[in-house]
Symmetry: C2
Amino acid sequence: MAAMTEFDRVVTDLLGQHDLRYTVGRRALVKVLRVADRPVTLPELLGLAGDLPQSSAYRNLALLEEAGVVRRLVHGGDHAHYELAESLTEHHHHLICNHCGRVTDMTLSPALEQTLDDSFGSIAEASGFVASSHVIDVYGLCSQCAN
Amino acid sequence: MAAMTEFDRVVTDLLGQHDLRYTVGRRALVKVLRVADRPVTLPELLGLAGDLPQSSAYRNLALLEEAGVVRRLVHGGDHAHYELAESLTEHHHHLICNHCGRVTDMTLSPALEQTLDDSFGSIAEASGFVASSHVIDVYGLCSQCAN
DNA sequence: TTGCTTGCAAATGATTTGCACTGCT
DNA sequence: AGCAGTGCAAATCATTTGCAAGCAA
């Protein structure tokens, strides 16, 4: 196999830790997720990835998720959305359109993130809950749907 | 019918605005949601509500949601969770156990909520997105599962 | 060879819906 | 009478899984 980018090396390693191979089909999925600048649904993924069998796509996304390469987002819509895991990107949140369901990324300032983690940690602690991560979804209308 | 509490009056009104009646079955669902101090799944709801047919429960929860009486939460687990809409309770967020899936409520200080809304609003605006509400989920381990 | 992968077809399971009947108003 | 509500059974549909064949180490 030809030259491997640092990104591919990291993915290969994550997969290897779970006895999984970085096959052509998996590369195709990861590539689409990497190129798309937002979380995508499975139908979108299939459309963008050329010709992958649906069941293999589902199966590989599940494995990629276990290996920490992919993150699966569940909102109210018909399909889940998939994006690269934060270890491969950056901690961020989502803007979700109430009308068309499109999801786009949003990043908060490190200072605000710190404030939030501190708040969540202490509030959770009060009830014996051990907080480890947080997710923020902002709902509204995307530029397309807002008219 | 006998005396009606202020709460029931509000619910009746919300339903009435959608040409829906506040029937016995719907009262049973709302009562369980009100008594439970946390969002519950449909199976839990059926268990707590005595003997309601599953399909009617699903159907009525969907109608109650449309009428603004109930809110449906979707996370990764097998079942959605249901709680009373914020117009009947208070703006709050959720602590979600990674192990057992239990969801509990969490309230942030008004000052922090204000900071968040300001931040979300301006960040969203930069991409033409019109923000209208936000959801925050804190993941971790509940007191039961943390050992 | 051993064991991870794959594609197809079939299964799963939460949620939804068609329909005939009941009950408010 | 007229329409909303209910329960049952059957349908939906995104997602998962069994299995037999393919491929890499």
